[in-house]
Symmetry: C2
């Protein structure tokens, strides 16, 4: 156990839950009707207590002790056992999963925002419960009744862990090229039992000592299946075979060959798993043959959301470390009064600039995340099918944007946090350098920024004949039109209006490139298009928050803690629109050059 | 000894030395007239051999074994001893220092570009020789004859190390607040000997086992001296006292209290040094009392240049790792041909985009660095005083720009290199994650980006009544005017013309803020102004290179290695002007908002 570096308060989480989006609507849904706002408030309070008292103090153990591999086994830091036990016993592992299998049945918006906090407290640890639940959900969604009965509750309640095994040493982003094989097990009476053979690499939480069993979801190709992603099937491969009565049987023919040495998340094991070296690894086919990729995509979608939650959690923790440090650390006078006494560095203009990057960045990303979380609740639970579909489409459009932008932007924000601390920010005495190291992997997990941008341009732009994207643009234009004469924020809404126009311009360009055969110009700018959409959406979310805050501010004492919070909210929106959002116009200019230098340069000239 | 990760070739270094800037002019100077271009070519070849064979293979030892502190002593990795011995024996430690004291007397441009390579090979190790020479130079410049005789040659030839001791636990960027004290030593016959007392923190290479002695340059306040930077004096404080006959005497009253645990550069010791705990630490006053800061600034100026060299070295190494990986790693088909075979990922459009960031970024920064290095040679050695002054002023103006921008931009570039490698980029199997960790400190060393930007705006803009900045602007405008009808690059020159106008607009704004009392708006944008100048200068340097390359390309086979190099050069200039330079216009827009949200927000709202 170490020092708790989790310093966050829950004000911004409660603003999103109780003041920004329409929680009342969610509470009318059958699935949530037994909850009240008070329940959610109490659950958030308890979660923050868990972060402070249990997860936070184990964070640096994860980094410094780390996971150790020896003789096929992985040992996690001792304090991680306590984290697991506490989370399992108190129902924190599967907050939003179905109560039928031991989940807590919370709305996605509540669970998602709590996850952001637990990731602030201990992101590396969070990979273990995160994958247990994620894999459990796939079995719940696609498994036969007997699979669900055998596995799901154990995975939701912390008895067993879980993984997703896609990547192989020779197949990463192009998972369709994987080599793992499956053949029917002639010794099994159950036609769904196969023998699995293959090596999987970079398997997060792939081996550990937190649970008595680990349930691997493994992508493999059934002998004779077509090449590419269409020939891939999904298998449940338990580390220890599970008998029909639910008892844990013999060790499957699989083992952990080793774990990676990494830049960060030393507390999370990144395993190479060898399946079927002796031809005896048994796996259970999950759903129909050759449908594995689609199923894995469900888990990957959840994991993409998880990536945003993880990286935002780290940046939020970095912001808190930086702002508390800046209030305490006394150094020379500010720029505008060079002869003054030394002051806390929060009074230094450039420190404030970086703090505002962190404040507007983390709050803006959280508002964006909150929006998608609410959309998901509507998409899953609303009684009106049209509403469900609309919400589902919008969250589908925005999810790759959220994932890719959050992962990249938070790396930059954490850099600012290090810079605010100066020399000590580079030292392990403070946790910010660890946040930077832990954060970097997230831009690679679950599809890189580029892969997200291809999903956006290749699949999501065309959703419902392009109407989803159009309605996203229209929604923002309507808002900017409503507030274009706003006495305080008119210029910001005008800038947002221009910025959303740039997003539209990108989309129009892509259409014309498709039509006139200049396809090669598309992939050179898709990440820029994605970043543009992200900044536009964040600006919109922050302005939405500012409008709410302004109303509330009129009702409270500006010097009260709520008053200060609302004042800060308005400042964050202004700052983002005036300092970060202009980046959109640099991307516009770059796009308009239609530069092909990167395509034209001969390979040998690199 | 480990694997050599240094893969660079010297083509770009030789382009800058032999094809871009006017080396012939330098060779007419007295100090350099005994050298020839062939000499420099051979020296560069030898330096790259040193990198491949000695420094490179020790790089990961620095990270993995690291420096260890125990009982006041610091142990460096075993392979570092061989690095030191080889560099010392072959004259690599003090390449550009004066031959009178054992230096090699090479031009700054040759030494600087070689240093960039040695930092690519082993940046952490490089801090030891770097500070030995830097401290030696200060003694050479300001020391009494007997000090020079005692210390300088030993420091230039690798017998002794050196440090600069500014930072204290309670005084970092505001060094004027330091508490270290000096009182005349009543027991010494020499009136220049003082007793030093104080604790210095974050002292790079502050303690190690590479040399028999370490000569610390310590900033301290002589009893009764005024507060602030004007009351600070500089002292030579040898770890072991040096007797007048040059022999090494008893251990001074000082010791290393410990070293920092850090994000990176584990191979470089970052020491806390305790001077005079028993009231017996002897130091020699260097120059006049209360003039310490000015002298330390010489070392800091050199160190700022060193920071650019270090961070560029790391980014260049990251680029090489990434481009070689991209040529070998085979994955799925590119965007424009989804049904193609798997190809090396260098054929993937987004991988190329990131490689072009790295190529244009590192080559552009190197050209910018090369320009300043040449200016320094002219400033130090040209027989014409007017030329010396002009070059000195221009390098003075640009040095803070180079330092701050290089340190920040390379962190982003190395992020791209990690991304190109994907999952393995996050793992220690490849060196890129180490480059990212090593690099981050450089934006804090020798003045943060903000401090550099204040130096730029507060001191450098006004150099020679503002004429230096004006001539910088004019030079770029003249160039853009000359090429505004260029058949290939006209649009790029026009964009550069607009961009340099933005730099001018920033400066005009600052003037008006000064005049109308809106000083508070200045520090909110100085880092953006600095970044704008940097990108304008880099674009100019790359376009200059492209013009040279285009001429040369007409004379060689385009498929030859030179032909490919020149083609790549032109592509890099285009790419930077079309994709990176537009960032200037986002900063312009942000500046024009004159946003004060970061100043207005109450401290408690953070």
């Amino acid at each position: 156990m170490g020092i708790n570096h989790f310093k966050r308060d829950d004000r911004d989480v409660k603003f999103i839950l109780f003041e920004q989006y329409d929680l009342d609507r969610l509470l009318t849904y059958d699935a949530y009707k037994d909850f009240s706002k008070e329940d959610f408030g109490m659950i958030v309070d308890e979660a923050f207590k868990l972060c402070r008292e249990v997860l936070g103090p184990a964070m640096q153990d994860g980094d410094r002790i780390g996971c150790k591999w020896a003789d096929k086994a992985v040992t996690t830091p001792p304090s991680f056992k306590n984290c697991w036990k506490t989370m399992a016993e108190n129902g924190w592992i599967a907050m939003t999963a179905s109560p039928e299998f031991g989940g807590q049945g919370l709305p996605v918006c509540v669970g998602g925002l709590i996850s952001e906090a637990t990731n602030s407290a201990n992101m590396a640890f969070g990979t273990f419960p995160g994958l247990a639940v994620g894999a459990g959900r796939v079995i719940e969604a696609y498994g036969a009744e007997e699979d669900k009965a055998l596995f799901v509750e154990k995975m939701y309640t912390g008895a067993w862990g879980g993984t997703m095994c896609l990547t192989e040493p020779d197949a990463g982003s192009d998972v369709g090229y994987l080599r793992s094989k499956a053949v029917k097990d002639p010794e099994s009476a159950d036609p769904r039992v196969y023998k699995i053979e293959g090596v999987k690499r970079f398997i997060t939480s792939g081996e550990h000592d937190l649970t008595e069993n680990i349930i691997h979801l493994v992508l493999a190709r059934i002998e004779g299946a077509p090449l590419g992603t269409k020939g891939i099937s999904l298998f449940i491969v338990p580390k220890f075979w599970v008998n029909p009565d639910g008892s844990v049987g013999e060790l499957n023919d699989m083992f952990c060959e080793g774990i990676e040495e990494k830049m960060g998340i030393h507390g999370s094991s990144t395993a190479t798993l060898n399946f079927g070296e002796n031809g005896k690894c048994r796996g259970i086919l999950l759903g129909d043959p050759h449908t594995g990729m689609a199923k894995m995509f469900q888990l990957m979608n959840e994991a993409r959301l998880g990536c945003a939650v993880q990286s935002l959690g780290l940046a939020a923790a970095a912001y808190d470390t930086a702002r508390l440090y800046a209030k305490e650390r006394v150094q020379g006078p500010p720029f505008t009064n060079r002869n003054a006494e030394r002051v806390p560095i929060i009074q230094h203009e450039d420190i404030r600039r970086m703090l505002m990057n962190l404040k507007s960045g983390t709050e803006g990303l959280r508002a964006f995340l909150g929006k998608i979380l609410f959309l998901m609740d509507v998409a899953h639970r609303d009684p009106d099918e049209a509403q469900r579909k609309k919400a589902d489409h919008m969250s589908d459009l925005l999810l790759p944007v959220l994932k890719a932008y959050t992962a990249d932007y938070t790396y930059t924000l954490i850099r600012d946090a290090i810079q605010i601390l100066g020399g000590v920010g580079y030292c392990s005495e403070f946790p910010v350098e660890q946040y930077a190291r832990d954060c970097k992997i997230i831009s690679i997990w679950e599809g890189t920024a580029y892969i997200q941008s291809l999903d956006l341009v290749g699949r999501k732009l065309g959703l419902d004949g392009g109407k989803v994207f159009q309605s996203w643009i229209q929604g923002i234009m309507d808002m900017t039109n409503t507030y274009k004469e706003d006495p305080e924020l008119a210029a910001d809404f005008k800038r947002l209006f221009k910025a959303v126009g740039v997003a539209g311009e990108f989309a129009m360009k892509y259409m014309s490139y498709f039509q006139d055969g200049r396809m090669r110009l598309i992939p050179t700018t898709t990440t820029r298009f994605l970043d543009t959409m992200a900044e536009v959406e964040i600006a919109r979310c922050l302005l939405d928050q500012a409008l709410i805050a302004r109303k509330k501010l009129a009702e409270v004492d500006p010097a009260s803690s709520d008053g200060l919070y609302y004042t800060g909210k308005i400042a964050a929106a202004k700052y983002f629109c005036r300092n970060t959002l202009p980046g959109v116009f640099a991307r516009q200019m770059a796009m308009q050059t239609e530069d092909t230098s990167l395509l034209d340069i001969p390979e040998a000239a690199f």
